[in-house]
């Protein structure tokens, strides 16, 4: 996403990039970044905690307004939990420290649409048929 931020900014659109992976963001070096020390998969907060999520976003927008030099990363004051032990073994994939899985826990890279619900597939296929009919 840092690469995309650079392209947008080049084209005249200011950006603020949230990130839960500080080292990757340092490498890609986007114009404005806000680091949240959260497990991967929870970039904009803990589920079903709207005030936590709003607080995180307010801090990100505040950081956006304060950053005045390209390539800055602001560490946002948000805490996943009092227990930091999720960081011990966290990698990408399902093994994000909240879950614990051995080996390469990413899913196989299949080249077919991966629907959340079977009914989504039906809806998408019906839309395509409608498009073809017109």
């Amino acid at each position: 996403m840092g690469l995309v931020a650079r392209v947008l900014e080049e084209a005249g659109f200011p950006t603020i990039c949230l990130t839960a992976a500080r080292s990757i963001t340092e490498s890609v070096n986007p114009p404005r970044a806000a680091f949240v020390d959260m497990p991967l998969g929870y970039t904009s907060g803990r589920p079903h905690e709207p005030e936590f999520q709003r607080d995180l976003l307010r801090k990100a927008f505040k950081a956006a307004g304060n950053i005045d030099s390209p390539g800055s990363i602001v560490d946002l004051d948000v805490v996943w939990s009092d227990d930091p032990s999720w960081k011990d073994k966290a990698t990408s994939g399902l093994n994000n420290g909240v879950n614990s899985v051995e080996g390469d826990s990413r899913q196989p890279r299949v080249n077919e649409p991966q629907y959340q619900y079977e009914e989504d597939r039906t809806a998408a296929e019906n839309n395509r048929e409608d498009d073809n009919a017109t």
């Binding site: 996403m1 690469l3 995309v4 931020a5 650079r6 392209v7 947008l8 900014e9 084209a11 659109f13 200011p14 950006t15 603020i16 990039c17 949230l18 990130t19 992976a21 080292s23 990757i24 490498s27 890609v28 070096n29 986007p30 114009p31 991967l40 998969g41 929870y42 970039t43 904009s44 907060g45 589920p47 999520q53 709003r54 976003l57 927008f61 956006a64 307004g65 390209p70 390539g71 930091p84 032990s85 960081k87 966290a90 990698t91 990408s92 994939g93 879950n99 390469d104 899913q107 890279r109 299949v110 080249n111 649409p113 991966q114 629907y115 959340q116 989504d120 998408a124 839309n127 395509r128």
Partner: protein, 166 residues
């Protein structure tokens, strides 16, 4: 590593790939000073667009596939998070399917408009897939599609883009 430090995913991935016998991954590295567009309006008056790479789509759209899908899905901002689906190969989908706002915070952004933290939410949000293996393809295929959706946003022009990767 101290548990107060951020997790170094580049180092962890290197160790994990070595254990699995994979070649080292070459992360995109940009050393030059990034491009920069100043924020022209107070954020409380800015029209903000959401761009999220958690693989969101909405009912009726073709879902992303998991082999370097460099497409985008345009999701009307009027769509509540409860109608947003997510699909991705590289993170735990279960919590995000329970509450899509943790990777696609559309409900929260509407609330930030109501409390005047931001001025407005752009007509559409833009969703894509993170984890495109080739940074060249992310730059040459994905980035232009995203730029087009932001630059040609219906309604008020975009003043600020909020990027939410996973």
């Amino acid at each position: 590593m101290s548990l107060t430090d951020p997790v170094d995913y580049i180092q962890r991935t290197r160790e994990q790939y070595a254990r699995l016998g994979y070649d080292d991954y070459r992360w995109a590295e940009k050393k030059e000073i990034p491009p920069w567009t100043p924020i022209k309006k107070p954020i409380s008056e800015s029209n903000v667009a959401l761009l999220a790479s958690g693989g969101a789509y909405t009912k009726g759209q073709v879902a992303f596939h998991w082999e370097d899908d460099t497409g985008v899905r345009i999701i009307p901002s009027s769509e509540p998070a409860s109608d947003v689906r997510v699909t991705h190969f590289a993170y735990d989908l279960e919590p995000a399917r329970e509450d899509p706002n943790i990777v696609f915070p559309t409900d929260r952004l509407h609330e930030l408009v109501a409390e005047k933290t931001i001025g407005s939410l752009a007509t559409n949000s833009v969703a894509c897939m993170g984890g495109i293996y080739s940074s060249r393809r992310a730059e040459e295929e994905l980035a232009p599609l995203i730029l087009e959706s932001i630059a040609n946003m219906p309604g008020a022009p975009v003043d600020l883009v909020l990027l939410v990767p996973v």
